[in-house]
């Protein structure tokens, strides 16, 4: 009955045995834990260096909103890179789809439906998603069926979609956007408030507990030794604590006084002397990003599609010989990437309350960097969605931390560049040690 015991990793043997055994029993990814550790170090470092400005509800809330577009696209980039491909077009596609969604909601639909039609935001978003899927599928078709290397096909896409973004309005910025659509961008109205944030947090905790219990029950059906109960409780406890802390932080960030005044006016109530504490709660773009992360993780780990994505990355010939339609899988991966670019585009233009033709410029590099920092190997075959999203948060943390410290923009680029190379270097070292 010593079945699961052979999973010991070389790294853990340097730890004291009881702790090492416990870590092994939790079956947690040590790599991911390392990333979380690095992120915490960066946060604490910036907090100390900025004299206590970094780890504040306000800064963390903004950090979460700013990370969302890159984090969303990074989830899809994981699958692209796992299949040994690359997508350089995501930033341009974000810009192009953003322009389309902008024009659809400010120009096209109001002419058809009138300005106050409540369906405008949905139709504009749907237009972006459908077009994103179509453009992604087109690139996927060119790569998978016409055999053009993805680097070239999407480099072409980078130029074409950026040019297209200009073409939509001949360079004019589209603004202001539909009021409901704007909620996707965050801000005081674009957050769900304290009560709903607690509801979401509680549901998330319930989901964690359910998944852990379901897993235990499944293992028992097949008479596998389940994880030690202590390990399960530890994992569940830590996950729930993190969720609740995140909600508490989001709820500790109050609306700015201007928004509160407008709100009080609209409600026809007098503003009390001490002001009014209205919490932001979790921002809608952050909820979208988390939802995307859950869906793509599910696709990657629980479906045939995801299994094939990884198999193709591990050994394309073996995948083919196993009877997998590898071309269709690649096409779907790029289609998913297009959909995610549309979601990120919607968030980006909503946040700006304007669609500009330069939106998303250089985002492809941030997305690829986040994905690679998050542990996805450019050689293909390995990578996790959660890691890539953490990578996006890490990149954004570096950037906004340096802004807080007043670091010049050129120096910011230099630091980010160096961190990218070091992070990937450390990861390569870690992998080699494991082998």
């Amino acid at each position: 009955m010593e079945r699961g015991a052979s999973t010991g990793l070389a790294m853990k043997q340097s730890l004291p045995p009881p702790l090492a055994r416990f870590l092994t029993a939790t079956e947690l990814d040590t790599r991911l834990l390392g990333m979380i550790g690095a992120l915490l170090l960066i946060w604490i470092g910036f907090h100390l260096a900025s004299g206590g400005l970094f780890l504040t509800p306000r800064n963390l809330w903004n950090l979460s909103v700013q990370s969302a577009p890159v984090a969303i696209m990074a989830t899809g980039m994981v699958l692209v890179i796992v299949t040994r491909n690359i997508d350089l077009s995501v930033g341009s596609m974000l810009g192009f789809l953003g322009m389309i969604m902008g024009v659809v909601q400010t120009d096209l639909l109001p002419q058809l439906l009138g300005y106050d039609c409540p369906a405008i935001w949905m139709l504009a978003l749907a237009a972006g998603l459908v077009l994103g899927a179509a453009l992604g599928a087109l690139q996927g078709f060119i790569i998978a069926y016409l055999g053009i290397p993805s680097f070239i096909a999407t480099l072409g896409g980078l130029l074409v979609w950026r040019g297209g973004a200009w073409w939509v309005t001949h360079g004019q910025t589209v603004a202001p956007l539909d009021a409901t659509f704007r909620l996707m961008g965050g801000g005081p109205e674009g957050a769900i408030g304290a009560t709903w944030s607690w509801v979401v947090g509680a549901l998330a905790c319930a989901a964690v507990v359910f998944l852990l219990m379901h897993g235990r029950a499944r293992r028992r059906t097949f008479a596998f030794t389940p994880r030690p109960l202590a390990a399960e409780i530890f994992i569940g406890g830590v996950a729930c604590a993190l969720i609740l802390v995140a909600v508490a932080v989001a709820n500790a960030y109050p609306w700015p006084i201007g928004s509160v005044r407008r709100y009080a006016q609209a409600q026809g109530m007098a503003l009390p002397d001490g002001g009014l504490f209205i919490a932001h709660g979790v921002a809608i773009p952050v909820l979208i990003a988390i939802g995307v992360g859950v869906v793509v993780t599910f696709l990657a780990t629980r479906t045939r599609f995801g299994r094939y994505v990884y198999a193709i990355g591990g050994n394309p010939e073996a995948a083919e010989l196993a009877g997998i339609d590898t071309r269709a899988v690649i096409l779907k991966v790029f289609m998913l990437m297009g959909i995610l670019a549309a979601i990120s585009g919607a968030i980006s233009i909503a946040r700006l309350n304007a669609a500009t033709n330069s939106e998303g410029t250089l985002d492809e590099l941030l997305v690829i960097a986040a994905t690679v920092i998050g542990g996805t190997s450019l050689a293909g075959g390995t990578g996790s969605v959660a890691g890539a999203m953490l990578g996006a948060v890490l990149m954004q943390s570096l950037q906004s931390g340096m802004v807080l410290l007043g670091v010049d923009t050129p120096l910011q680029s230099i630091v980010v560049g160096i961190v990218l190379v070091i992070a990937v270097g450390l990861d390569a070292l870690y992998r080699r040690r494991r082998e």
Binding site: R3, T7, F222, R302, R307, A311, E317, A318, G323
Partner: protein, 260 residues
Amino acid sequence: MTNAAGTPLVEMRDVSLAFGGVHAVDRASIDLYAGEVVALLGHNGAGKSTVVKILSGAYARDAGRIFVRGAEATIANPRDAKALGIETIYQTLALADNIDTAANLFLGRELRTRFGTLDDIAMEARARAVMGRLNPHFHRFKEPVAALSGGQRQSVAIARAILFNAQILIMDEPTAALGPQETAQVGALVRKLKSEGIGIFLISHDIADVFDLADRICVMKNGHVVGTARTADVGKDDVLGMIILGKCPPGAIPGPGATA
């Protein structure tokens, strides 16, 4: 054991395939009966692997016909072959190194829950059962197959071929990566599968192995079939003559590749 009467399990008639003008296989005709082991012999580049890859759907043939259990079969891709009960153990093993044993065993034929999601636990349970028969000391189910030894990887590849009740098994150099003890295990497995009525194409360079396991021998040279013989009717020297000189000995049925 050879069941010479009745319909062959597989009959390949005048199958040809060229790669850019080079005839990898030229008008090859080979058949296989239930419960029979047919060894394919020849130098590197003789066309053995290409013939079996045509049968397993990895390559599409240019010409010729294939009959499976008497019915003409179109085998355009690996899925078609698997649907006909043809399973292959490739020389390269064709494993995805980054995923674990169960994921490799069920690759392309995953078990799913009633919600359509991957049923990894059920797959692992079946993987444990089949691997338990082939390699009782194997316990590394949670690790990617890249971490396994050569012999363990070989047993994963073999397990995958027998997991789905293959009726026709193609083994391309199944013992090339194995030590003597594991080679003996594979030999025992071949005899067992044969006794269950499975037809096996065996590609091997080990003549001793071939005489030990095969009922018939088919020798190829430069993409042609030199000849086919019952193992009992020829000696090792005859077979070497077929491989090296393309000379068909008495007792063998000459093919288009036999020298006059």
